[in-house]
Symmetry: C2
Subunit: 807 residues, 2 copies
């Protein structure tokens, strides 16, 4: 319930990057590109299938029509350099073609090489010398010395002006072909091997950053409003879709933050159908959109099964066979292939235009037909709608219209309604697992059946968050349903233990006389279905306007809370506890760890809490037919209620008092569960165990809805009997659905494994602090900050809202 | 609520196979294999990577250890035959190796070719003649004439006994190598091309059936209890993982019903890392488990990035380089490679043993730790638990222990708790889309954001099931939450229209005085969260034992129903309608279509319904502060309440009466929606429109939980105002999650498209009847059948249960 305040909630993450979270919120995004002109990545299902031929063919087709236009060709990673230089090939074939078939207007063509490894730079010098005098070629910066990480910043540059055949050919300005190689290595092997062997390394982020700058400088970001697209850009990858980049990351992962639309160069040879389909599937499994498939004809009619596989999804184009004669300059082939390249270009254009239009229309359409939860639509004008193009780990890629259109990455500070867990690597692993689970199981019904993901997840839950107390797992779809189930379990257990109230054998007695209530804390939140609402104290969210059936069937206590104010941890007692019994010495803590220390159990404050709780319960008991059938709390932190940290000592005492009275205890760990607070469950921090516990949100790694209600054996036994009517008759169609269980099993293991979660501390079951205490103190001193809760991986900062909408 | 009866509920499906559904229930499963010995499929990421070398190496490694043992090698599809014959290669290399390195015990080796195309058979005659006299080879059935579909049943058979070197080598019986080619074509091209060019066709099912018989006859299904596995079987595919089979289906789809564990032969060449990863991902995207990756070393260290990609998931093995000299007989290479093949064999064994143990343990573990919904655990002994290994379209693959262990396909008659939609093709397409959606979006928060899958789904819903009445889509997670939201919407609309009851501006008045109720039909079911329960009439499912908070906040009417009894459609009036006004002539119908005819609106029965309803509502109105705030019905069929068909005329009249009184109308189409009854929505069959409508289950094609509550503009407007508190403050963390929206958008389009749903009738928006009326009549005459509802694609048959568990 984000009401008058703005809360930043920080997701758990394997990288320690969130230490600088606030700074990053205001820093530049990692990846960004203008959406003013088509930019495509050229992929292939294997090496040597003709990516460069496709790039060259496109450049000719694009620049041969009207003018002035600009075609940008980028090769981020080139091995076998300088013998192999794809950017030089594109540049050369372009001018050779124009020599053969001149254009009426003039074109400037250039080829530029930025950085190459030392061995490649040495070869390059010989290479340049060997080129005939006719070439306009030069190495601008070769002598400027070594660049970082084993590269030389060679700055090889060659250009030609290709004079148009018509009079006044230059009148409207020149068209341009810009070719660039970003990084070159000498050996013709996989980039990760070349980088290692030649000692020239470039990290994934650095490579993306260079790429961003190359795109930005080439396209300039000005939208052409002449009704025709006056520029396009292609980025050619190296090898196959999953071939390693220089760092060893598969290229499909490396380039994923851009998520540029793809052209896939397929394989027309024997075996090529399979390779083409598999490469397409690897691209889809990383969230790429493939605009077209193109491949060289080898006479095997590979397009027939490919078209059947792709149905209407992706156009498939076939290029004429490439001459095998090595001396052939391919100019005739390019000429013959122009109709295919023109079709490809048109597909790329129309796909781009369609995407643009859709992105522009989305905010308006969203305002017209969506009904967002928790949203007063009157307050959301079209321009406030965020258009999300994709997510990559912790970052969203959003469409923005500033001076021009952009796709821009930004950190997801809202953490996806508090579900955000996976980083970019885990997201891709989960994606593959989701595909696998859907393919293996689709959906299967759960009752009386067993299948691996559901069983494995149940085992992991009982070994993990349910360890030492839970014996059964009941699956449902979300936190709210998990709570509804927990309440049904608790009430049955209570009635089972109080057989005087209900003779379970006969189902007799006057049910109207039994008014079961929950004991709950004010400010807690358990979900929006009626049963979950009833366990919450009255608030605007439960009011008559929202659900006239809500009564608030609880005894709601104001809890003592702990928070950091002006750099100091303080205890805030509710009014009805502010008696002389509660002494001042307990009001503040020297450190956060002190708040959680179990030696506080022996303090006089603990005694005060105990007597306060007994008094409340005693008073309640005297009021007739009303009974406390369950205690429900959010352990440690009340999430949606404003990120309040309840004094853990108070919750522990409360749990123990209820236990002694045989009132079943429910922990709502929907928000706190699975490392949100730095431990797998908040119960661990509280040092006490429930009878029933609810989990959802981060359980699946934050990718898909699934919830689990864990129960002790004593609770389960209250449902065993000789009639089906004694069973728990609550279920949903997708109970324990395979995809959810698979994601959850994966995530639980991932978060617990030090090889995948480097934030896990070696010696303990806790995550490293991602926010250092000094930073937390500093934040808490900021005038706009009302309250700071810093705990393990969670940092909730409550800021004064500007222009709050709530009365 | 499957209580005293057994209901068979038939899913929608693009094939017309369900006409013979009941027959199929008792017919043999399509695919089945013994789980007594390891059976693996050998895949490769491209053609010519050495699948056959791996098969041969495994055969040598397996049969060289102890004895007697049996190794079965199957090649279902062989092109280039007889020049290329992988089964003959395995057979030959085996005896050549044994000649080089004799074993102490004897081994019989054989190679058998079943059917080949006519051109291949012709070549074969020459081929056999060309073989030296030393070979024991014969064509048994070559002259028996043509087999079906252009094949000759050649029955080529060759065998050798390889005498052991030790005295008493035959004492414990011979070990055996059995090699088989199932289908051969002459041309060395892709099987689909060869099949076409040589006119020799084999369908996917026929191929699987032959394969099943070959496996069954070879393994015999007897579990070896000597503590050691005495047989293993490998099936070698042709080309790459997605290379087309003879029918044109990608082989990974073709063999999917078996879902045998896989060995992937990767690619050690330049570009091979990518191909290996992509091939692995294509296998995963079809639900296969890959036990190991093995590839030939080409000196490029491809294992390094592969191991990094596969982490601990899959072992990666590297074979020594294969001699390039064509005259090399490879015997030395096999010798050198034995340690690698032995490791591979051990991985295959331990993976098999692990799977076996797990399958055996699952029922017990399930009984110990799972808590199934709607299940009295006391009634579910371990042996009643079904172990589901996977699903392929309409069929489940289950683990059975009969005289021996089996994986056996069976038709899913329970239709996955009523969510079953996709056939095998759609399941694989959805799987790929689920992977894509997870990779592209993970999860993103919904409020004030827009992203493609959510927007597209909303558009499809409003153009489809919401056409002409709905203007907004509210997403949630399941049917129950969709109903909770619908009730909140309806009550607000009611209060908005009755401003006298509640001054919306001030939020004033005494809320306690307003007792809002729903009008609902007895026997309807809307979900298990408290709000949804409250809209249902009291039943054992809503009793005090289940949820003590339930009151039943409705005015519940007994509806008139229609059902088929003894082959005749009959109207059954509830007791309180059985007055003389309702004449006998209406009691039966000549056909089912007649029941739905809109000219019944003018009948006197319609008048009687009208006056009955007015009377009820009038009576209600006089009772003080209690108001009917909403009507909620399941249109046409009350699903969980026992598959009752309510007289559509009655529901239509009821809706119109409520409309005239400004009581908002909710349709619960969670069960009936998305073609379950043969039309996209049951509202279409009812010929009237609601104000609010709820959808879930089949909306996503039955693969993942997602729900939508559709509302009219008038309903939406009741939430617009100057305060956030007037907004609908109900939400779940995964509202409008990308994977669910993607699956739903895909499914809605898939079901509506005649190219993918061949059951859709050309001229109308209805599905073809999959159950012919004659069959329905015949079923309804069976003594065990209590009630039959046949409607479009749905056929619900209520059978008398044997040994019902319910008191």
């Amino acid at each position: 319930m984000l009401s008058t305040t703005t809360l930043f909630l920080v997701p758990i993450c394997r990288h320690g990057i969130f230490k600088h979270h606030l700074r990053r919120l205001h820093s530049k995004p990692v990846v960004e590109y203008p959406l003013t002109h088509p930019i495509y990545t050229i992929w292939a299902s294997n090496t040597s299938l003709g990516k460069t031929l496709v790039s060259a063919g496109l450049s000719i087709s694009f620049l041969s029509s009207t003018h002035p236009k600009k075609f940008i060709y980028l090769k981020p990673v080139q091995t076998g350099f300088p013998d192999d230089s794809d950017s030089r090939f594109v540049y050369r074939k372009f001018y050779e073609f124009l020599a053969y078939k001149p254009l009426p207007f003039s074109v400037s063509a250039s080829n530029h090489v930025l950085k190459v490894s030392v061995p490649a730079a040495k070869s390059l010098l010989g290479f340049v010398d060997g080129i005939g005098k006719g070439e306009n070629i030069g190495i601008q910066n070769a002598k400027e010395g070594k660049f970082f990480d084993g590269f030389e910043n060679v700055g090889l540059y060659e250009e030609r002006k290709l004079q148009g055949s018509e009079i006044g050919a230059d009148e409207f300005g020149n068209s341009e072909l810009v070719c660039k190689t970003m990084h070159g290595w000498k050996e013709a092997v996989s980039p990760h091997l070349a980088a290692e062997r030649e000692g020239a390394f470039v990290g994934d982020n650095e490579l993306l950053d260079t790429l961003k700058r190359c795109i930005g400088s080439a396209l300039g970001g000005k939208w052409c409003d002449k009704g025709e697209l006056d520029a396009m850009c292609v980025i050619e990858t190296a090898g196959g879709v999953a071939s390693p980049g220089p760092s060893g990351s598969p290229q499909c992962d490396l380039y994923r933050p851009f998520r540029l639309p793809a052209i896939l160069v397929g394989d027309g040879r024997l075996g090529g159908i399979s390779g083409t389909i598999s490469a397409y599937e690897s691209l889809k499994l990383r969230g790429y959109d493939v605009a077209a498939i193109i491949f060289e004809d080898h006479g095997l009619m590979n397009e027939v099964p490919l078209l059947s596989y792709f149905r209407k999804r992706v156009p498939v184009l076939v290029l004429p066979p490439v001459p095998q004669d090595m001396s052939d300059d391919l100019i005739n082939w390019f000429d013959k292939s122009q109709t295919v390249f023109t079709s490809l270009k048109e597909i790329m254009f129309s796909s781009f235009i369609e995407r643009m239009h859709r992105l522009h229309d989305m905010p308006k359409k969203a305002c017209n037909i969506l009904w967002w939860p928790f949203t007063q639509h009157k307050f959301v004008p079209q321009e406030n709608v965020t258009v999300i193009d994709s997510r990559c780990g912790e970052n969203l890629a959003v469409h923005k219209i500033q001076s021009f259109d952009l796709i821009s990455q930004q950190f997801d500070a809202c953490a996806s309604w508090w579900t955000q867990g996976p980083d970019a690597i885990m997201q891709i692993e989960l994606a593959r697992d989701m595909g696998y689970a859907a393919a293996r199981y689709g959906h299967v019904m759960f009752p009386e059946n067993v299948y691996e993901p559901a069983l494995e997840l149940a085992e992991l839950l009982l070994e993990g968050v349910g360890k030492e107390w839970a014996s059964r797992v009941y699956f449902s779809d979300n936190g709210s349903t998990a709570i509804e189930i927990a309440l049904k379990m608790a009430f049955r257990k209570f009635l089972f233990d109080n057989k005087g109230l209900l003779d379970l054998t006969n189902g007799g007695m006057d049910e109207k006389c039994v008014d079961l209530k929950v004991l709950a804390l004010r400010g807690s939140y358990h979900g929006d279905t009626l049963g979950a609402m009833e366990a919450q104290a009255p608030s605007p969210y439960t009011g008559f306007l929202q659900q006239p059936w809500y009564k608030g069937r609880g005894l709601f206590l104001d809890p003592p809370t702990v928070c950091m104010q002006n750099g100091l941890w303080k205890l805030c007692l509710p009014e009805n506890m502010q008696t002389e019994k509660f002494e001042m010495e307990y009001v503040s803590f020297s450190s956060r760890d002190e708040i959680f220390k179990s030696n506080r159990d022996g303090s006089s404050l603990a005694g005060c809490y105990r007597s306060f709780i007994s008094q409340v319960l005693l008073h309640r008991d005297s009021s007739g037919f009303s009974h406390i059938g369950a205690l429900i709390i959010e352990p440690v932190i009340q999430g949606a209620g404003g990120m309040q940290m309840v004094d853990p000592l108070f919750q522990r005492v409360l749990v123990r008092e209820c236990r002694s009275l045989k009132v079943p205890v429910i922990f709502d760990e929907v928000f706190t569960g699975f490392w949100r607070l730095g431990a797998e469950s908040a119960a661990e921090l509280l040092c006490c165990q429930p009878d029933i516990s609810c989990f959802a949100k981060l359980m699946t790694g934050g990718i898909i809805p699934l919830a689990a209600t864990l129960a002790s054996d004593a609770v389960f036994k209250a449902f065993i009997g000789d009639s089906k009517l004694k069973a728990l008759l609550h279920g949903h169609s997708y109970s324990a659905h395979a995809m959810g269980c698979m994601a959850a099993a994966k995530s639980i293991k991932w978060f617990k494994d030090r090889t995948t979660n480097i934030n896990l501390m070696a010696e303990s079951r806790l995550l490293q602090e991602l926010w250092d205490s000094e930073l937390v103190c500093r934040i808490s001193l900021h005038p706009a900050v009302h309250r700071v809760v810093a705990l393990g991986t969670l940092c909730a900062i409550e800021l004064e809202a500007e222009g709050s909408n709530v009365g």
